[in-house]
């Protein structure tokens, strides 16, 4: 399975509705310092059910809401949608799943799978079922590449657990 597209609206610095259609193979994101590249990584973590605001450089999840910029006021809602394609052999609609996560600036959260309201737990279980184990197996954050080397041996073993 792979990611077909990612949509962001009001998420961190992505104030306006933005869609990124990912390709198979190697997708490379580039741009100047501070333009929003790592925010895309945060969006991928967030929409797949990550609950660690610290891992997204934030103090709490309300930090995910666009806080305003030159001539644009803060957003009321932050929303990220990810569309994944489940069957490599038959890229038809039935094999696509869209997961949406929303948070309002007051902290209220919403979770959707194919436009149906669900709990955060359901999103986390969905991604677990399609092969996304521990975040440490899939996400390698900026400046944290040698985090694996600094983990305790017992923490590091989850990588083998995921490989098993």
């Amino acid at each position: 399975m792979h990611i077909k597209s990612l949509q962001l609206k009001g998420f961190k610095s992505f104030a306006d509705e933005t869609e990124i259609r990912f390709s198979k193979g190697i997708n490379c994101i580039v741009g100047p310092n501070g333009c929003g590249k790592s925010n895309v990584v945060d969006a991928l973590k967030w929409v797949t059910g990550d609950t660690s605001s610290r891992g997204m450089r934030a103090t709490n999840m309300k930090d995910m809401v666009f806080k305003g910029a030159m001539g644009k006021r803060a957003a009321r809602t932050s929303e990220v949608s990810i569309t994944i394609s489940r069957d490599e052999l038959l890229p038809i609609k039935e094999n696509e799943i869209t997961v949406t996560r929303r948070i309002k600036s007051n902290g209220d959260s919403e979770f959707l799978i194919n436009d149906r309201k669900v709990r955060l737990k359901d999103i986390q279980e969905l991604f677990l079922s399609i092969g996304l184990g521990h975040k440490d197996y899939v996400f390698f954050e900026q400046g944290q590449i040698d985090r694996v080397l600094r983990l305790k041996p017992e923490e590091r073993r989850v990588l083998i657990d995921d490989a098993a």
Binding site: S23, N27, C28, M70, A163, A164
Partner: protein, 154 residues
Amino acid sequence: ITKRFFAAFKAVNKVFRQTFKRVFGGGSARLVLTSEDPTEAGIEIEAKPPGKKHSNINLLSGGERTLVVISLLYALYSIHPAPFLVLDEIDAALDEINILRFTELLKSISEKTQVIVITHKKVTMEAADVLYGVTMEIPGISKVVGVSFALSEV
């Protein structure tokens, strides 16, 4: 369960040792279990670059540590590819020759796993199948601009 853990460990360790030698052009490395008991065993990493006589990971350089992690990542994904892999500027500490080695491993991983990398380095960009540019034309507001395909075919 116990069987699966040990089987995965052995398989990953085998590829890790081979990959390390390939990436470093020699030397040796291995994963070590801290206990016989699979429910509580931890994983230690030993790595000795070519010519060097000690395997204390902390004494390795920034670039060497990155290569050890990349070798381990490659080993894990060769046994159990995740659906996608997200790498944010992990080439930051690498010199040009090592970025090339890194991209070779990445291309191999990308046959079974969708890879998303963020980088400032040309060599990494050249290895990509698709390029996405992020900008802030209006200060404070991110926008994705321009997508280029298959630069490596140019």
